[in-house]
Symmetry: C4
Subunit: 262 residues, 4 copies
């Protein structure tokens, strides 16, 4: 496989004024948690598989011991007037050049299907273990700001300060060349842990935008478990901060333990 490989699982895809949601692995896995939940709740149908030499050479093992070559996938579902395409996957590109190449591929597919707007979903790292409700946005067309503020999305001057790295940001940039509206919606998250609570809040905002009802109970349960872990970690961190001036190395190593490997 020297080139990306696109497998279309349906002969003709007819969608009504579709928008596209993008939830790939990233900060707090917020975006991926949101779209995985949506795919299940909305009973979305997988329509496209994308394999690429820019993904790691890896297979995952299914419950029945069959394997799945890591990929990115596009799902489709009907929702009121606006149909929804969902892009998710096991990995983002392993290389810088691959990011750009895959980004254009996703946009080619989106345009082919007639997507009129893209929402990339991600996490906004606060560095705080205590959860704060909130969603911050960035757009590739200023016209979207006013509309989106209605749904409770905050727009803060030049935030995030370090920009947006990876597919969530790049798709906004590349869409601009195609005059395709795209927006990145980021839930506040610690940046240290997989964060279903942030995903739950982001999902609430998203269901208002899309005017759909989503049962968030399953996500809520995962969030409660995670919250306990976060509370324990926060407590540990506080204890350590008391000791920080004497035992700096300990604090450093414990911080490491809190981090997940994205």
């Amino acid at each position: 496989m020297k080139e990306n490989k696109v497998i279309r699982l349906k002969d003709d895809i007819k969608l009504n004024n579709p928008i596209m949601l993008v939830g790939l692995p990233g900060v707090g896995h917020v975006g991926k948690l949101v779209v995985e939940h949506l795919i299940e709740e909305l009973d979305a149908e997988k329509i496209i598989e994308i394999y690429s030499p820019h993904f790691p050479p890896q297979v995952l093992v299914n419950e029945d011991s069959t394997i799945k070559l890591v990929n990115n996938e596009i799902f489709a579902c009907k929702a009121n007037d606006t149909d929804i395409l969902i892009l998710t996957g096991d990995h983002q590109s392993s290389s810088t050049e691959g990011h750009y190449e895959l980004g254009e591929l996703y946009l080619d597919l989106a345009e082919e299907i007639g997507v009129s707007r893209i929402y990339t979903l991600g996490g906004f790292p606060t560095g705080q273990l205590t959860h704060t409700d909130g969603v911050i946005g960035a757009v590739n067309n200023h016209d979207m700001v006013e509309e989106m503020e209605q749904y409770g999305i905050e727009f803060k001057e030049s935030e995030p300060g370090g920009g947006i790295v990876g597919a969530s940001g790049l798709l906004l940039g590349l869409s601009q060349f195609r005059k395709l509206d795209a927006m990145c919606v980021m839930g506040f998250t610690s940046g240290y842990l997989v964060d279903p609570k942030s995903a739950q809040f982001l999902l609430g905002v998203l269901s208002k935008i899309l005017d759909i009802e989503i049962d968030v109970t399953p996500l809520e349960e995962r969030a409660k478990e995670m919250e306990k872990i976060a509370a324990q970690l926060a407590e540990m961190e506080q204890q350590q901060q008391g000791q920080q001036q004497q035992y700096l190395p300990d604090t450093v190593s414990s911080d490491e333990d809190l981090r997940y490997i994205g």
Copy 2:
């Protein structure tokens, strides 16, 4: 050498219903140990050499001070009704993209020779220095599971949890696009040491599958040596675990020492 270079050492290769075994460097070097042993015991003949700019720029030095450019090689031998092709080598690809490119090349060669099934061989890291007999499998076609369970291969739900990385996994994924049955067979191994004992057990399972008899004595001797080293390391580790709560950094550094560079 800008492209992979395939050198065919025989003009025509006629094999009877061949299967392919793949044993490349990896966890515990289990897969490579198994196929090296098979090549010797079955007196397999080298039929193809594969050189690639995706392998490190390195030559190995032979006993007679001549050199060998690092490569991957395919051997062939006759065994009952089913002839055997064996793919082994000095390295796996240095780059992500190279993994995919070489993977397709191996499958092109396998198809050209008429291979009907591929077994990739590897190690399943247990994290335990104490040896446990056992072999776990993953398949790219569920039909193989029942057949393989007869030979004592275990199939555990979604195991290994982190998927299978490198050629052993990738070949299963890429074979799927060609409707070619492939299976990864992994011997339990610590993950810290070259493991001839795991290779010996895996070889036992394999000889049942292939219905051949293999003298495992040479491997058994290497296994006994390695077992002594592992026992010493396990003892050291136990002593350190007693000290672990006081001296965490020591344990970490000693763990490092147990690791080999794959």
Copy 3:
């Protein structure tokens, strides 16, 4: 985007005997600070945008929450007899090969517009937190040395000793193949901090070369702030040097803290 993308914002660019200034991110951000200041003071007009898969997959967020895909940009302005082109940007290439490819692209554009000389601007790391006024030069044509010494640029034998890494150096090397005069002008800087004071001094030298007047007040204010920080750091460093023989590891870690990520 598999290839670099050049967007020309003006149909025809007519410049009078133009020279090109290059100020990309690098040591002390000296070069970038200088050209950013010039673009503002000279009210330069953006004429070309360059996007590339060799830049990180990243967007920056503007004040109004719109995004900007990271890129390199060329500005133009009129200044006396000699018009000025300015190349600046968010990043240098992420890969070695990309550096060479982008370097040639910049030179193609420069030649197309009729550039007769290139000045790349950068910082010369002294390793000393105390500021020293001074600018050192390197040329790709020895004829420039005498002319440039008039403006107070120093030329020291084989300095910098480690050569010049990145676009600032590479453009001199690649220009040589085109018989295009190019010079690297480096302001003395600690190498640890963003350095507007070094930028201010370099700007003074540059305005003599270009025979233009530049108001350096804004840069001066930033420099004063930075100077305070540097003075504090220098003091800390002195204190630590007194302890250095006893506490080497501390000194090392504090040095790390002084470093910025370029």
Copy 4:
């Protein structure tokens, strides 16, 4: 520069039965020291320059403040019956793939000029700071062994154990495909320091092979300086070994200090 760039400085190169010496940066810089000395002593003429996007994006600064884009270069000189080509350079390839591509390019040039044999020169790391006279060889054609033993070159079974990494080894491997005899000659060296003493000894062996006389005085002087430094380091190391069981981390960090960056 997307492709390698070969600049021929002479229109026609007529050499008498030429052999090629290769001395690129590597272990102890032994190979490079030897060929640099030969170029000067034999008054060799530069005939080819090779530039490549696989070299770092870097220029070096000459004594007169002009710059030189990093490259590899081929020199030629007359020596008795056998003329000598010398390949040297500032860097080896930055990437795995680049190593293979440049390797083939060097061999294309060698074949074009009619080279009948290649000697790559390098260092064999002993891990000992105390100098030992000695040169070890590896060949790509066993016929060379007997001939070379006459000149005092040792051939040890499967040594170096880790193979030969980089251009010195790769050129032997790639030459094999062209039926071109090539040999790697390695001087014993600590592996920690630039080693003119090892270079001096290797040069002695080489002048016997090539039947030429070389004044080694300049190299001898550099060797004496370096020997003093090595003696001091060896002394420090001995002192530290006495303390090793108590203070392991110190020893580790001091070992680091002995290492040079190749």
